[in-house]
Subunit: 162 residues, 2 copies
Amino acid sequence: MTEPRWLDEREQRAWRALMAMQDGLAEFLERRLRQRSGLSTADYQVLAHLSEAPAGRLRSFELGGLLRWEKSRLSQHLGRMETRGLVSRERCRTDQRGAVIAITARGGELIEAAAPQHTADVRDAFIDQLTEAELETLAAIGDKVRTRLAALTPKGQPSSGT
Amino acid sequence: MTEPRWLDEREQRAWRALMAMQDGLAEFLERRLRQRSGLSTADYQVLAHLSEAPAGRLRSFELGGLLRWEKSRLSQHLGRMETRGLVSRERCRTDQRGAVIAITARGGELIEAAAPQHTADVRDAFIDQLTEAELETLAAIGDKVRTRLAALTPKGQPSSGT
DNA sequence: AGCAGTTGGTTCACATGTCAACCAGATCGG
DNA sequence: CCGATCTGGTTGACATGTGAACCAACTGCT
């Protein structure tokens, strides 16, 4: 087995900086959001998608597609949000097994209040620290990597592959 | 209350690309690592730090500082890793309450086997997709944001290293 | 129509992370 | 020394994420 190409200085630095930034950013945003609105980032994303959807409602699987969540995760999370009165589940007319998820009035109020704060936090901690060129580069990087990941993940995972 | 500055096109794009990349990358690496070595990324990081430490051992709080994990998380995780025979806990001589965490032979073998694979995955999905300039920019971004986060966080963050 | 296979969702068991409370051993001020 | 306080670490209750099993409704094919 050949010795792999380890990461050199520059590569290490970029990789670690990214990971560290990510952890810090996620933790920061999660904490602020929860403190000020009682929402987790997961709640926030669900409500954001619902509030942008026509009539504030989406089929469960559509929501799952947008969020890229596992279906069991979505189901569990919606159950909790329903208990808290943030969303409601309705039966679908055209497909008898389907669930239509609707944002409630309370959910709507909460995300309306949370959104400006959250946006300000994202700006403050992230966007406003960077130049336009950096933002461009970042977007390009993100797209490249996502494309690559899509290519590497062909629906089923190659268990042996080596 | 004044209307906040929402994110413009460019900003949205960069932010979403970053978040999407992050999710995809984390999930990809987690899956590969677990499939091929039975380790989670959390396990991997613990073992990586231990294997680089003198004599393969660290005080629990030192390890926590390096990982930036909450102490209860570390304690819980080490408990599980101990059960699986990846690390062992010893009493500290100089401080009677202290725990010294040591990597076991089995833990050593596992990370030795996992490291090249993991590095290859990081390269394949991420590093090798980017130009040197992009890596530089990314490192700069990461540093800036981390610095900003440190300034925004009321608590003191025990900067490990330096 | 009828039956196989797919799809949308839920549920269970379990892995992992967080918070607060707790305990025991250090430390410090008299 | 003694007590107050700090520090390192563990624990228990609970929130959240994952995978497999399951159920019921839809689709396709004959």
